[in-house]
């Protein structure tokens, strides 16, 4: 679905630091959302921490850089880092080109799938949150 002109595919969970999550078997996949990838410009680097790293929902565990910006990556759920998208090492631009597909960033083995309930799925809730973000950070193009 489109919210305020940005792509927010249905069936995904949305995190307030501009990440998305979806369930894949017993793992949770995460990536950057459309607004963030447009705001950041072409991503040139994503830190890919070691597999097994302990993550806590809402805490940052890695960094992402575009030409002008350094951003923190926040864990969408608590758990263990299970997989990283190694394609991003030499082609970080996938995050811009296909943020919800080929541009996925991490797969987490969650401690507790229920934590996903802390994320947003309701379009109205997302719209309200997004408008506040746009008010603070501006429109991305």
């Amino acid at each position: 679905m489109e919210i305020e002109g940005y792509n927010f595919p249905e069936g995904l969970y949305y995190e307030k630091n501009h990440f998305w999550a979806r369930v894949e078997g017993d793992l949770v996949v995460m990536g950057m959302n459309d607004y963030a990838q447009l705001m950041s410009g072409e991503v040139v680097y994503v830190a890919l921490p070691p597999i097994g790293k302990k993550l806590t929902q809402g805490k940052s565990f890695a960094k992402v850089e575009s030409g002008k910006w350094l951003g923190k990556i926040y864990a969408v759920v608590s758990g263990e880092l299970a997989e990283v998208n190694e394609e991003l090492e030499e082609n970080a631009k996938l995050i811009n080109d296909d943020p919800f597909g080929k541009g996925w960033m991490f797969k987490i083995k969650p401690e507790n799938m229920d934590e996903l309930d802390n994320l947003m799925t309701d379009p109205e809730e997302i719209r309200e949150w997004l408008n506040a973000e746009i008010a603070e950070h501006g429109v991305a193009s």
Partner: protein
């Protein structure tokens, strides 16, 4: 009203001296990955010559093309005809801006003015470590503070372990990079730093960033400094360290420390004390390949900049088989760390960071043994 191209005109003779022999191609980090002569020194010399000869009008495209240079001076070192392309390119970048062709660094200039750092980080990082009556002040700069803070922490830690009495100041950007990309450093920011330095009553400045070192040493805005100035490798060259590693270690000469500031020996003196198994890369010292970050290139072409670092890293690994790559420049460090692939086993550190870590390991071993 200044004459158009007044800065480039000073280099008319030099630009004419270029005989288009192409030797700069063999050593240029950008040409290495693009194979496009326009991205190389020789190509730029003919472009600038045509502009000076009035054969072509300056344009947006030309101004942008001139940003494509890390000012690493590999070309200068290798030029048989005595041309110094980065000097000329810097001058022409300024002329382009004066002609109205602003580039992306105008925004950086505004950001530096507003936030005091090149990244526009609104929350100014405070390193603390403020001491009365210390003989030295440590200045770390923007790249270390906002992009490689762990490395800076280790460096500070090392100085503490060595018992160096130093203080830190409320830093603002040296803003020197603006001079490389067509703009000017900020006088008020220089004044702030100078006032801060003088307020501390120190006798000498130690910097971790070779670029800040160059700016403090050479830029007219810092003429009022009147303090001894050393890069941290110069400061630590005569120190003794109680740690060693038997790992195979190699060293990358940062362009700003090596070719630009002539500091080659001191980093090596330090490394030889702590790493007897030290091996030089093939392209080293005056011929060291650039990491790709300099001259604004990391800002204007970040992807290509990282590709250059990756190429340099790959070659160093192939040539030396080193387990550890050392350097002493936050920009080189950051570019290499961004470029390193997960499957590569090499570890990358600033020299001071690495030594700090060795001390920590030694402490851990002592505690375990105790």
């Amino acid at each position: 009203m200044s004459e158009p191209l007044e800065l480039s005109k000073k280099y008319q003779h030099m630009v004419t001296q270029c005989s288009r022999c192409g030797f700069c191609r063999a050593v240029c980090p950008i040409f290495d990955i693009t194979k496009n002569w326009a991205t190389n020194a020789g190509g730029k010399m003919v472009l600038i010559k045509e502009i000076l000869d009035g054969k072509i009008e300056p344009s947006e495209g030309i101004a942008k093309s001139l940003l494509c240079c890390t000012t690493c001076m590999n070309c200068t070192t290798n030029c048989p005809s005595g041309v110094d392309p980065p000097e000329v390119i810097r001058a022409t970048r300024k002329d382009m801006v004066n002609l109205g062709y602003d580039n992306m660094f105008k925004a950086m200039s505004d950001v530096i003015a507003k936030t005091g750092n090149i990244y526009g980080e609104k929350e100014k990082y405070d390193w603390g470590h403020k001491h009365e009556r210390a003989p030295y002040v440590l200045f770390v700069g923007c790249v270390g503070t906002y992009r490689e803070e762990e490395s800076v922490e280790e460096t500070i830690n090392l100085l503490d372990i060595l018992g160096v009495k130093f203080t830190m100041i409320d830093e603002v950007c040296c803003s020197g990079v603006l001079e490389d990309v067509g703009y000017q450093a900020h006088k008020n920011l220089a004044k702030h730093n100078i006032d801060e330095f003088h307020r501390t009553g120190v006798k000498a400045i130690i910097t971790t960033c070779p670029y800040c070192y160059r700016v403090f040493k050479n830029h007219p805005f810092y003429n009022g400094l009147n303090l001894e100035l050393q890069h941290i490798t110069q400061f630590l060259a005569k120190h003794d360290f109680k740690v060693k590693t038997d790992k195979k270690v190699t060293y990358h000469d940062p362009c700003d420390l090596g070719r630009h500031a002539g500091i080659y020996e001191e980093p090596r003196q330090i490394i030889r004390k702590i790493a007897p198994n030290f091996v030089e890369p093939e392209r080293t010292r005056e011929n060291a390949m650039c990491c790709g970050a300099g001259g604004g290139f990391r800002g204007s072409s970040p992807k290509e900049s990282i590709t250059i670092a990756r190429t340099r890293l790959r070659k160093i690994m192939e040539e030396t088989g080193a387990e550890i790559l050392l350097t002493e420049c936050p920009s080189c460090l950051h570019n290499f760390r961004n470029a390193k692939l997960r499957r590569w086993n090499i570890e990358i550190y600033n020299i001071t960071e690495f030594i700090g870590k060795l001390y920590k390991e030694m402490d851990v071993r002592k505690n375990v043994a105790a």
